[in-house]
Amino acid sequence: MADRIGEPVLADGTLALQAAEADVARPTASRWRLLRQRNFVIGVILLAIVVIPVLLAPVLSPVGPDTQNAGATFLAPSVTHLTSLMGTDEFGRSVWVRVLYGGRYSIGASIAVVVIGGTAGTALGLVAGYLGGTVGFLIMRVVDLLLAFPGILLALAVTAILGPSLVNAVIAVAIVAVPLYARIVEGAAREIRNLPYVRASRALGAGPRHIIVRHVLPGAMPAVIVQTTVWLGVAVLWIAALGFLGLGVQPPTPEWGQMVSDGQASLTIAWWVAVFPGLFLAVFVVGISLVGDALRDRLNPTAVGA
């Protein structure tokens, strides 16, 4: 073999081709699955690190999120007291406590986003995909139009109309999510509508509402679940972005993005005020992405992993 390496072997081409192929082909499928499983576990651990303390906020907080302490402003992080575990801010409020309570707003708001945007988008996608025709065409053209805006621009435009507040930020980000859900569900619904069992059901006299709820929706569900996991991460980032810009949660309510913005003013003298809320946000989003990727492979094996 050794003398053949490095020279084009035409006479024994098949052997060389096989060797080359063996070099390229790897047992990727099973290794990939293992890798995904590992990523899923890492993702769940990261999520647990963030979500469990956030859920246990009242138990883990020695003081309230708005409790000020004029004698303890800008304390550096220290492990001696739970209150100053992550230091204190300009009003002497505990960053640790505010990060925990802030997570309730950030994560809660992003759950609201996927519930509102996901439901509306799924409903529109089901109607457009199953009924088709003029109604479907019109719905999908509006969806296309909304998708023509870079995401955050649409959210900013909506907050400009509604005014800055947490509820309006949720509505704004939900509106961005609607066309994305609608497009995915519409594709799925259009495929399912012509499957034999759906046609059989129609032949038996089932109405569109029955078919959509009993047959089309369950078929579209895996896509919706994957989209929801991805969007939980996106939504929490965008709610935080709007909060950071001053267009979401208004102070003194703690929310991760708004807290980062708060801490920016004192960045050079007290880095911890801005760094810790952002760190929790980042860990949460990385965890969600890992879980979402694994779910996508699991529920939608035909999708090409980008």
Partner: protein, 306 residues
């Protein structure tokens, strides 16, 4: 040619639809459009009467739209009463800075993304692959406004290499451009990796290896050439992310630009500027996407004619 004509027509339709949506934005704001546009000056009855006349607000909505569009097409984007300046002047002042930022960000994301993706693909299924893809995923998940602050802490506060905020010229551009570029880099890296892997398994690469060509030549001439072409297609997608990201990055670094102009206008309820900036960014996004789409068949003759 027919393909180009069709795409251009679709762009015109899209731009008209975007303009209608942006026009209607002003109607959706609570209160009359005149008071929204005038802001503080709305208490002046003379100004109200003049603007009502100017906008033709006593005419039907389609006529109002036509007048507004006519103005926009002639470069009249409205007047910012808060800034006492025509909006077109404000946008003209801020646009170059955003374009420089987005351009530098795009460059960083492409160079870094291709390098990272190539390492992952060449070392497929090794720890190097996991590590680079882990980095790529983390970069996508990091909130850009937080990443910006971390970069400031490290490279402006701890190691005073770059200015903390603002800063003009190239030195002031480095940290904002990296903040923006690193976020988008992860997407590029993942795309490059899967694109490379696809080509690596194709028969012509196997044949090239079988001929005994060395790995370097095979990679550069047979793999990279074919695999990097599709990367052009995601530039269109990235322009959206870059524009969205620029809004946050400009706010973090207090950097003048169209994104900061938009956010400040929203906070100041300067609706004329909000309307014009949203229109400009959306139109820019639509046009650049078309350019990228049209560029692709030019770069890859196999796609042409379709």
């Amino acid at each position: 040619m027919f393909y180009v004509g069709k795409r251009l027509l679709a762009l015109v339709v899209l731009l008209v639809a975007i303009s209608i949506l942006v026009f209607l934005m002003l109607q959706l704001i609570p209160g009359s459009p005149v008071s929204a546009l005038l802001g503080q000056s709305a208490t002046n009855p003379a100004a109200v009467a003049r603007l009502t006349q100017e906008l033709g607000l006593n005419r039907p909505l389609p006529v109002q739209y036509w007048r507004w569009l006519d103005g926009v097409l002639h470069g009249n984007l409205g007047y910012s009463y808060q800034n006492q300046q025509p909006v077109s002047v404000l946008i003209g002042q801020n646009l170059p800075s955003t374009l420089a930022l987005a351009g530098a960000g795009l460059l960083i994301s492409l160079v870094g993304g291709i390098l990272l993706g190539a390492v992952a693909a060449v070392r497929r299924d090794t720890p190097a692959d996991s590590v680079t893809m882990g980095i790529a995923m983390t970069l996508v998940a990091l909130p850009s406004f937080w990443l910006g602050l971390i970069l400031i802490l490290v490279f402006a506060v701890a190691l005073p290499v770059f200015p903390v905020f603002g800063g003009s010229g190239l030195r002031g551009l480095v940290l904002p451009a990296f903040t923006l570029g690193l976020g988008v880099l992860g997407i590029t890296a993942r795309f490059v990796r899967s694109s490379l892997l696809e080509v690596m398994d194709s028969p012509h690469v196997v044949a090239a290896r079988a001929k005994g060509l060395n790995r370097r030549t095979v990679f550069l001439k047979h793999i990279a050439r074919n695999a990097l072409l599709p990367v052009v297609t995601i530039i269109g997608l990235q322009i959206g992310s870059l524009l969205s990201g620029a809004v946050l990055v400009e706010m973090v670094f207090s950097r003048p630009g169209i994104g900061r102009l938009l956010v400040q206008s929203i906070l100041n309820k300067d609706y004329a500027t909000v309307q014009a900036t949203v229109l400009i960014i959306a139109a820019f996004y639509a046009v650049t996407n078309l350019v990228v789409d049209l560029l692709y068949p030019v770069l890859d003759p196999r796609i042409g004619g379709a």
